[in-house]
Amino acid sequence: MTTTTNADVLLSVRDLKVHFPTMDGIVKATDGLSFDLAKGTTLGIVGESGSGKSVSSSAILGLHRGTNAIVSGEILLDGEDLLQLNDEQMRRRRGQDVAMIFQDPLSAMHPYYTVGNQIGEAYLVHNDVSKKAARTRSIEMLDRVGIPQPDRRVDDYPHQFSGGMRQRAMIAMALMNDPGLLIADEPTTALDVTVQAQILDLLQDLQREFNSAIIIITHDLGVVAEMADDVLVMYAGRAVEYGPCKEILTHPEMPYTWGLLSSVPDVQGDTDARLIPIPGSPPSLLSPPKGCAFHPRCVHRDKVPGDLCFTELPDLTPARSGGSHVKRCHLPNPDEVYRVEVLPEIAPDLVEETP
C-alpha cells in the first residue's frame, strides 16, 4: 500500500499510536497510523483540527518525550526506530536529521533573542563550530531563503520581521543542518494569501536543492495539490484515505475526503461551484463514535446496507480505482456515488470531462 519502493524509503511509520491519559480517560489523538515517505518526496497530511495530524508529526520528532503521552508503534527513519532511541540520542537527531517548522512563526520564535541568535543556535548545537561560524552560516541561510540584507537583518528581533519573513527565517533555521526530513506543520496558515504561495514555492525550491523529504500538514487541499506527491487524509486519529495525490484528488472514495474537497474554494473555478461545508463537528477523541468515526456526519451512511457504519470500524481497503490508493469506508460503490451525486454539486463543469 505504499507508493514507493522499499529502497527509497526514508521514513516508515507503522501503527503509530499517541495516547494521552487524562482524568476523564484516555485521549487517543493518534490511533494506529501507518505511512511511508521516500527521499525527496512530499507527503501531505490533511484533516480538520484535532484529527491527529500535528500530534503524529510531533511524535516523529519525539516532542512527546517528557510528557505523559504514551507513544507506541514504530517510526523508522533510515531503518532506525526512533521510538527505541534514548532521550539524548533522539535529541541529537532533532534539528539534525528531522526538522520542523510551525504554523505561527511569531510565537514559534523567542521574542527576546535575535533571529540570528536563534537560527545560529540550531547550527551550534549540532556542530562543533564557533559562534562566528554559526553567524556566517545564519546569514548565508537567511540569504538563501530570500531575506534581503541578511547581514543586517540577522540582528533583528522576530517582531521586527514581517510574517512571511519570519516563516522564511524558520525555514532557514530548519534547514541549517540539511536534514533529510522536514515537517511543515501548517506552514502557511497564518500568512497572507500572497505570501503563502511564495513560501510554498520556496519550500519546493529548497526541496529540490537539498533533496529533503517533506511532510506538509495542512487542512488546505490547495496546498496539497500544489506540493504533495502522496496524500494522507486523517479523521479522528486515523488515516481514512491514503494514496497518490492525483488519485485522491480526482477519485476520492471516502465521504470525508469529499467533504474536504467540497469545502475548498476554487479561486479560478466558476461561480456555480458550491461550497458545501461538512455538517457537524469533529468527534471527541475521548469517546469516539462507535463504528466508523465519521458516521454521525456522513450523509451517505444510508447507502450502506444494515447498520455497519454504526457498529463496524471499516478497514483500510484498496480503493476501486486500484493502485496504492486505500480508503476506510463501508460504501460498496463510492466511485459511483462520487461521480453521480457529489461531483455535479461541487464542480459541475468537471462532470462532462470525467470518464
Binding site: 520528532l61 516532542l63 517528557g66 535529541r91 541529537r92 537527531r93 532533532r94 534539528g95 539534525q96 526538522a99 520542523m100 510551525f102 505561527d104 510565537s107 514559534a108 520564535m109 523567542h110 521574542p111 527576546y112 533573542y113 536563534q118 543556535e121 540550531a122 548545537v125 549540532h126 528581533y157 517582531h159 521586527q160 524558520m170 533555521m173
Partner: protein, 337 residues
C-alpha cells in the same frame, strides 16, 4: 527613553505634592486629636487650645500645607516665633531644606529621623530580598520541573503554609526558638554594616528570614506558574525541535521569559519593603521606617506620617520607573516599540 524618564519623574513629583496635601487633609478630617493626647491627663479646654497652637494644628490645613511646602524649599524654624528666636534661640529648632517637618514626639527633624531609620529598613529589605529571590526562584523552578510529583506538592504546600501564617507568628516563632531557645543566632538587633558586617548579618538574619519566608511563598508559586506557562510556549517547542539540550532550553529560553514578570513584581515588592516592614520590625524591635510609622501612628505624629508618605511614595514611583526601564532592557519588543 530619556525624555520618557524625565516625563515620568515630573509626574511623580506632582503626585508626591498632591499626596502630602491629601495626607494632611485626611489626618485632620479624622477623629484624631493629637493635642488632647499630648496635653496630658487633666487638661482644661484652654490648655488644649494652647497645646493645639503649639503643635501648629490650629491653622487651616491649607496654611499648614503651605508652610510644609515652604519648609521643603527653604527650611523652617520650630516654633516660628521671631521674638522667641531673639530671646531664647536655644529653644528654637532649625530644620534645613528640604525640611519635612519636626516631630514633637521624637523632638527631632523628620529628615533626621528618616535618615537614621532608613539604613535599618534598607538592610532588612536587601537581605530579605536576596533570600526570597534565591529561595523563591529556586524552589519555584524545581516545583515547575517536577510538576505533579511529591516534590512539587511538597514545595507548594510548604510555601502555602508560610503564606497563610501571619508574619507576626512566624517572626515570633523564629525569635523564640532560633534565638532564645536554641541560641543559634544572637538576639536580633540592628548593628550598622560599617561597624561589623558579620554582626550586621547575624543581627538581622531572623527578621530578614521572616520577611523572606512570607515573600518567598508567593514567589515560589509565581515562578512555578511563569515557568510552566513559558514551558508551554511555542518557542520552547521550537527550541526542542532544534535539538537543544533540556538544560539549555530551561536556562536560556524558559527562564528568560518566565523572569520578566517576576522582575516587575520583585521591583515593586522591594520598593514597598524599603518603606519599612511594620509587623516584622515591631516583632524584632527594629527601628526602621516601619517602626517609625508605628511610633508616628500611636502618637498621632503628623510630620512623621507625611514624611513617611513622601518617602514611601517616592520609592514606589521610582521603582515603577526603574521597572519600566528594566522592562525595555529585558524585552526587545518594548525597547524598539
Amino acid at each position: 527613553m530619556f525624555a520618557y524618564i524625565v516625563r515620568r519623574t515630573i509626574s511623580g513629583l506632582v503626585l508626591l505634592v498632591v499626596m502630602t496635601l491629601v495626607t494632611m487633609m485626611l489626618f485632620f478630617s479624622g477623629p484624631l486629636h493629637p493635642e488632647r493626647h499630648a496635653c496630658g491627663k487633666i487638661c482644661s479646654p484652654a490648655q488644649i487650645a494652647v497645646t493645639k497652637k503649639a503643635f501648629g494644628y490650629d491653622k487651616p490645613v491649607l496654611v499648614q500645607w503651605g508652610q510644609f511646602m515652604q519648609g521643603i524649599v527653604k527650611g523652617r524654624n520650630f516654633p516660628e516665633d521671631k521674638k522667641l528666636e531673639k530671646d531664647h534661640p536655644e529653644l528654637v529648632v532649625h530644620c534645613t531644606a528640604p525640611c519635612l517637618g519636626y516631630s514633637k514626639y521624637f523632638t527631632q527633624n523628620v529628615t533626621t529621623l528618616i535618615k537614621t531609620s532608613f539604613p535599618i529598613s534598607l538592610s532588612l529589605a536587601i537581605v530579605a530580598f536576596i533570600l526570597w529571590i534565591t529561595g523563591g526562584v529556586l524552589f519555584g523552578v524545581i516545583a515547575a520541573l517536577r510538576k505533579g510529583t511529591i516534590i512539587d506538592r511538597g514545595i507548594v504546600g510548604i510555601s502555602l503554609i508560610f503564606y497563610a501564617f501571619p508574619t507576626f507568628f512566624i517572626g515570633l516563632f523564629l525569635y523564640k526558638f532560633v534565638s532564645i531557645k536554641w541560641q543559634l543566632v544572637p538576639t536580633p538587633e540592628y548593628i550598622p554594616f560599617s561597624q561589623n558586617p558579620w554582626s550586621w548579618l547575624t543581627g538581622l538574619i531572623l527578621p530578614a528570614l521572616t520577611l523572606a519566608l512570607f515573600f518567598m511563598a508567593g514567589y515560589v508559586r509565581m515562578t512555578r506558574a511563569f515557568v510552566l506557562e513559558s514551558m508551554s510556549e511555542d518557542y520552547i517547542r521550537t527550541a526542542k525541535a532544534k535539538g537543544l539540550p533540556a538544560r539549555r532550553i530551561l536556562t536560556k529560553h524558559t527562564m528568560r521569559a518566565a523572569f520578566t514578570p517576576l522582575v516587575t513584581m520583585a521591583g515593586l515588592d522591594l520598593a514597598g519593603l524599603l518603606g519599612g516592614a511594620i509587623i516584622t520590625e515591631t516583632v524584632f524591635n527594629f527601628n526602621g521606617l516601619g517602626g517609625l510609622a508605628v511610633a508616628a501612628a500611636t502618637n498621632n505624629d503628623l510630620p512623621i506620617l507625611v514624611g513617611l508618605v513622601i518617602v514611601l511614595a517616592s520609592f514606589v514611583i521610582l521603582a515603577n520607573i526603574i521597572v519600566d526601564v528594566l522592562y525595555a532592557v529585558i524585552d526587545p519588543r518594548v525597547r524598539v516599540g
